[in-house]
């Protein structure tokens, strides 16, 4: 998430609001965070963000007006963005209007501890449900897609149901993509509660990292596999749309086709399967020596797994992969999938002709640079 900062004035608590550069008489000012380069500051807004310093602005006589001054890069804030302004003066962009991959971080807690987790979980946190509901109410109604992620969102239990209901109420047309480890759905009562919300556009994406319990459990460092299997069955019984995600790492790179087989034979009801190149962030960065496999080296195996599923009319995609290292026959399955803020091209790609299409990479980690790109095989 992108963060800006400035000097806070009169901010005692987190303030969540929607960025506005202009307003009309019908604007609900209490929800808006007015963003301006002007010196005069109108009153009535939840907060005001400005690039001017405190001395240079002429606030009206409202002593309680919350302002963040001296903010650099206010050009990065556009109307419709939802931000959180906190007492220290930092401005976190929670929702970027028009961007791909907007997501609500429902909780940072998790009951797995995946060896390659890009966002390692915390053990304790304050409940953010009300905050999240507030965010949902502010998000642009025309947003095509929104992720619900964490942590493990379902750990919130009934509060999570509230959030899902919030999605349905505030964003009835938005496709909701819930990322969950799937364990919670092994409990049929909970699965039923989720489905009872009757969200019209909900897909639940669940990771499956191996074709056997032992291997999967080693990766997620929890006794999860058979609970995930039961969870998938329960959701399928309830006619819930489900996707499966496979992050590729050293531990499972030799079993990609076997995983594809397991999915087709046992879970042919899933609506989507995504093979994902590993993000080198968080725990993945810490454990990199134990995890790293050059995507160029498994490209043929990935090709076999993708072809296996595609032949069977399964809807399969490849996420996060550099187009140039994929065998030509499976390039059409690659999707633009990385959040905009992570989509950074490495130097070697500067002149690439595929760049505008799909060539993309995670933030450069020089020692783990994909060799095919580095040595210019393509």
């Amino acid at each position: 998430m992108k963060v800006l900062s400035g000097s806070p004035v009169n901010i005692s608590d987190d303030i969540i609001g929607k960025i506005a550069h202009r307003y009309g008489i019908f604007s609900n000012k209490r929800d808006l965070i007015y963003t301006t380069a002007e010196r005069s500051i109108p009153k009535g807004f939840a907060a005001v963000i400005t690039n001017n310093s405190k001395e240079h602005i002429s606030a009206s006589d409202d002593n309680y007006l919350s302002i963040v001054c001296n903010v650099r890069g206010i050009d990065g804030l556009s109307d419709g963005d939802v931000v959180c302004v906190n007492p220290s003066g930092s401005i976190t962009i929670l929702f970027k209007k028009g961007a791909v991959g907007n997501a609500l971080f429902v909780t940072e807690r998790c009951n797995c501890s995946c060896i390659m987790c890009p966002q390692p979980p915390v053990s304790k946190e304050i409940d953010k449900t009300e905050l999240n509901l507030k965010i949902l109410s502010l998000i642009d109604k025309g947003t095509p897609m929104l992720g619900l992620t964490g942590g493990e969102p379902t750990l919130l239990g009934d509060s999570f149901i509230k959030i899902l209901q919030g999605c349905k109420t505030y964003l009835p047309k938005t496709e909701i993509n819930l990322l969950s480890n799937g364990i919670a759905f092994a409990n049929m009562d909970f699965a039923e509660k989720i489905c009872a919300v009757r969200h019209p556009n909900l897909t639940i994406d669940i990771p499956l990292y191996a074709d056997t319990d032992t291997e999967h459990n080693k990766i997620v460092r929890a006794n999860a596999f058979f609970k995930v299997v039961q969870g998938l069955y329960n959701l399928a019984l309830l006619r819930q749309r489900i996707g499966i995600r496979i992050v590729i790492m050293k531990q499972n790179r030799n079993r990609l086709k076997a995983i594809a087989e397991l999915i087709y034979r046992n879970f042919p009801f899933v609506v989507h399967i995504a093979f994902m190149q590993m993000e080198i962030m968080g725990l993945a960065k810490e454990n990199i020596n134990n995890l790293w496999v050059d995507p160029y080296d498994y490209a043929q195996d990935l090709g076999a797994a993708v072809t296996y599923l595609a032949m069977r009319d399964m809807n399969v995609s490849i996420y996060n992969a550099q187009l140039c290292i994929l065998p030509k026959s499976i390039r059409a399955f690659a999707k633009q999938s990385i959040s905009t803020w992570k989509n950074i091209y490495i130097d070697e790609c500067a002149d690439c002709k595929l760049r505008e299409e799909l060539c993309k990479s995670y933030k450069r980690l020089s020692s783990y640079l994909i060799k095919a790109i580095k040595c210019g095989i393509i």
Binding site: A258, E261, R265, T307, M311, R331, K353, E357
Partner: protein, 489 residues
Amino acid sequence: MTYRLLPLRFDRINDNEVFICNEVGEFLFVPVNDFNMLVKQQLTPENPSFLDLKAKQFLTDTELEPVIEMLATKYRTRKSFLDKFTALHMVVPTLKCNSNCKYCQVSRKDVTAKGFSMNKTMARKIVDLIFKSPSPYIKIEFQGGEPLLEFGLIKYIIERAEWVNLFKKKELEFVICTNLTLMTNKMLRYLKGHKVYISTSLDGPKDLHNMNRPLQNDSNSYDKVIDKIRLCRKVLGHDSVSALMTTSRYNLNRLNDAVDEYLKQGFNSIFLRSLNPYGFAKRDGQSIAYKIDEFISEYKKALDYIIDINLRGTYFVEEFASLLLTRILTPFSTGFVDMQSPVGVAISGVIYNYDGNVYVSDEARMLASTGDKKFLMGNVNEKSYAELFDSEFLHSLLSKSCLECLPECSWCAYQNFCGADPVRNYSEQRDIIGNRTTSEECKRNKEIMKFLLDLIKNGDQQIQKVFWSWITRHPLSLEKEEPCEGSIR
């Protein structure tokens, strides 16, 4: 003990490999040494076969119950053809026929014969009975004789069924199995207004078709059939007509010609059927029948030919292979009445004869035409739906037609892809349970399955693509359009 072995059946296919298959149809080819170690509890997790065996639930070295649960789920899926009960209802409006087919399996009557057609009271009773079936899908298939000789009755049954269905609200469709020679424009215009499909017979190019299927008053039925196929397609649409072929002595060695003929007539599939030993086919066995070994070897040649046609870019399906491939390669249930376990007789498909007699299958009716009413369920005038379909006789027949408990079948590695046929067993071997070691059907099925499995294992990727295009029922173009063709150098 380091792991538990889960139920499996196996076949030592050659000196090096064993084919193993479990109760839900998941299979593996395992090196013979690994297999021997597997059953002796000596396989270690480091063995390259171990994970494959575990992922397909041939063994478990951790929990047992959730693995059984996964197998059970797949088993339910596999057997889901049982869920809906009888969907296929065949009706014989008349035994009269204008054809004189060499292999006629039903012993047809002359066009002028009296007393071999259904009356309206009977037709009405049958329709009402059909709608007692709990199945949400109802397919009424008109068989014969030549049903078009009693077109008035067909219209009556269609309209009666549609009327009853106004209240029952099932998915209803009709099929007319006809030699087509008597089809007229007027009939087709009527059929167009209802959900009717046409199933006809085409045994090959002109000389072969005329040899197998002459009319009573005309030895050239071919020209008429081709002409009428065109007419049907014109009025009802291209896909409304399908054709079946029967292999007799005459066309056995020319299956490729039959395939070419089907292609020429614009069909995109063919069902290479061996002869059923009923009716005239049985009586005249000497002149038109052949050894099953001959059929198997000709079938394999023809299948290679068809695969080649597909590889050269024309989508064309062989239906029997397609059915077996679906069973071998997918986790799903398939609805092929003649080859199920338990068998599909009465519970998947049933036939109502012109005289109101209800038989468990078309073959059972054919058998009855030779005088043996072993598989008669009863008459619609005498028995209620419950008496017909919940009888001691049917219970006993079904319980003797589960492969899982038939001798030889119960330990056959290919069981999951196969099915029982008690009527055929009885007709050929005078025993419902039958003896597989001398069964021609068993030999045919097993040989063809092994042939397909060998292609699955050893055939190149292109052949797999052809197979999957048959299973998914659409021409396959795996090379999706590339977003960046030409831009990369």
